[in-house]
Symmetry: C2
Subunit: 330 residues, 2 copies
């Protein structure tokens, strides 16, 4: 459109980089101050997660992986709540309008929006003298009242987890150098760093979680700490068989050589796997459905009565002491 | 609830300060990873606006006014879109868990949530080594397809604005010292600084805007620049009579004494008034309805054909040159 009306810096920034990926009709081509979500009879599930440079990602992480992480940590939340992605809005706090960074960032965000069916609906770009920060508010849909909560776990339910645990924490350890870096080969390093930088949200499992789980959440602050939160809100506890916690080949190798302990893996963060509790009678059906969509799930323990922190036990039934339950930034 | 399960820093921070204000059932007592908005047949309007310390507010602004501003800039967007507030989620990037700051911040946020019927639904608190930042994603409701856009202005429509323009820019000038500070008395300073720190979102006008306006937006980056945006998206231009732009007593006084020009006032930001275009036949009804809810509205000009930037003219019809159309942080 020919126009002699000057666009402000922020407007043209949004137009240049983000309009091409804002294809949903409710985004109004990013020409407006707001987006609209049409009612379809479902509840709109809302989740918000922000990532900060130097805290949740590293300053030299590539812009495309930062974009993937910013959106996917939210898609992971939606999946754990049993919700189908419906769209997201973005707050981007930038030090400067840097095309070399914004172009691959927006492109990667667009790829994920397309791949996960979660279109960009709007956003705000602000200037900051501080670290880069990306806050995403994501929307999903569930049938009315069917959002899966943290609070529904009952004694006797199986504790299940998707994928493998601890790889992202090992990936961060690789990036920081030190003994994990020294003890791994290039292929293992790449796999582990990939798990830290680019979560794989279990979006295909959302409906299955909704139909089977008594409680669920995604594992973002470490399995042990997040399980403790789920148990606390459910008013229960759990006993976890440490050896059943699923590990990748790289993690198993590091554990078997004594480089890291399993305690470190269940305390580390950034897994973005789904932790859920499944009533006994639904476990077989849950496992079959998960297998059908290609997501590995593993039973790692049992929900029990009690208000104590979840216990992690070894093969002999002895309790394993965990020093740090979970990662907290404060 | 008695529990020997330790809460992580972030969890307890949310519990301590924000749970008391998260009273909506869809907030699930902030015990979950997500909130839920129930369908009621309306569209859900979504807007996101972030404020950054040193950019949108000053480091020594009181925590309660920062909370008011963070929410109200979003309420202002909802009102301009014709939407009734339904709730909000919050991202809070903090340098540290500072009770002396968080307590009044959360209290003020809770007061506004109650006053404007816009409950806190959820949030994410992250640690940052950089400036304080608050990003709010707010939700409103409008009947399906009835969100008011920027794009509907048509030649012949009246350009209308609520309240007074330029006070927030003068308030910022007061806080920065200099000639505006020197030229004002304590009462004027307080009034102007109040306009900068605590916007008055025109929430009561939302339905009236929806029923009357062909286009609307809130004035956040300066009247001149924001009008240019509205015109650009509508494919029109406008002629504004500068002397009709409504000014407060304090602003009028500064203009009459030659301390500031009207150009500075229409270029300044942070007004959070509603700018809208009203088809001629609806102007009387719009004015009457606005008067009924106690919001001052003023006709300041006319939408015209053309793709040029809106013209501001003086009492003799001469064009007034505006150096800077709008504030941009980049």
């Amino acid at each position: 459109m020919a126009s002699d009306q000057p666009a402000s810096g922020e407007d043209s920034l949004i137009a240049r980089y983000f309009r091409p990926i804002a294809t949903d009709p409710g985004a109004f081509n990013l020409d407006d101050d707001a987006a609209a979500l049409r009612p379809d009879g479902n509840d709109v599930v809302v989740t918000v997660d922000a990532i900060v440079e130097g805290v949740h990602f590293l300053s030299d992480d590539p812009p495309d992986t930062i974009a993937h992480k910013a959106l996917r940590v939210n898609l992971s939340d939606l999946a754990a709540k049993g919700a189908t992605p419906a769209g997201f809005v973005l707050t981007l706090a930038l030090r400067k309008d840097d095309e070399d960074w914004l172009k691959p960032f927006a492109a990667a965000l667009g790829e994920d929006a397309m791949a996960f069916g979660c279109p960009l609906l709007g956003g705000d770009t602000v200037s900051t003298p501080g670290p880069l920060m990306i806050s995403v508010t994501a929307f999903g849909r569930v049938p009315p009242g069917k959002m899966v909560h943290r609070s529904g776990a009952r004694p006797g339910d199986r504790v299940m987890v998707t994928g493998t645990i601890g790889d992202a924490a090992l990936g961060l350890a690789v990036l920081r150098g030190g003994k994990v870096h020294a003890a791994t080969d290039a292929a293992a390093r790449e796999a582990l760093v990939g798990r830290y930088r680019v979560p794989q949200p279990r979006v295909t499992l959302a409906e299955i979680v909704r139909n089977h789980a008594s409680a669920a959440m995604d594992v973002s602050d470490g399995l042990a700490g997040d399980l403790a939160k789920l148990c606390r809100v459910s008013g229960v506890s759990a006993v976890i068989e440490m050896e059943h916690v699923p590990l990748s080949a790289a993690a198993r190798d590091l554990v078997s050589r004594g480089i890291v302990g399993r305690e470190m893996l269940v305390a580390g963060g950034d897994d973005y796997e789904i932790l859920c509790t499944i009533p006994d009678e639904g476990v077989a059906s849950f496992e079959a459905a998960a297998q059908f969509v290609g997501v590995a799930v593993r039973s790692i323990g049992t929900v029990v009565d009690g208000r104590f922190a979840p216990k992690f036990i070894d093969g002999q039934g002895g309790e394993i002491a965990l020093e740090r339950l979970s990662y907290s930034h404060f």
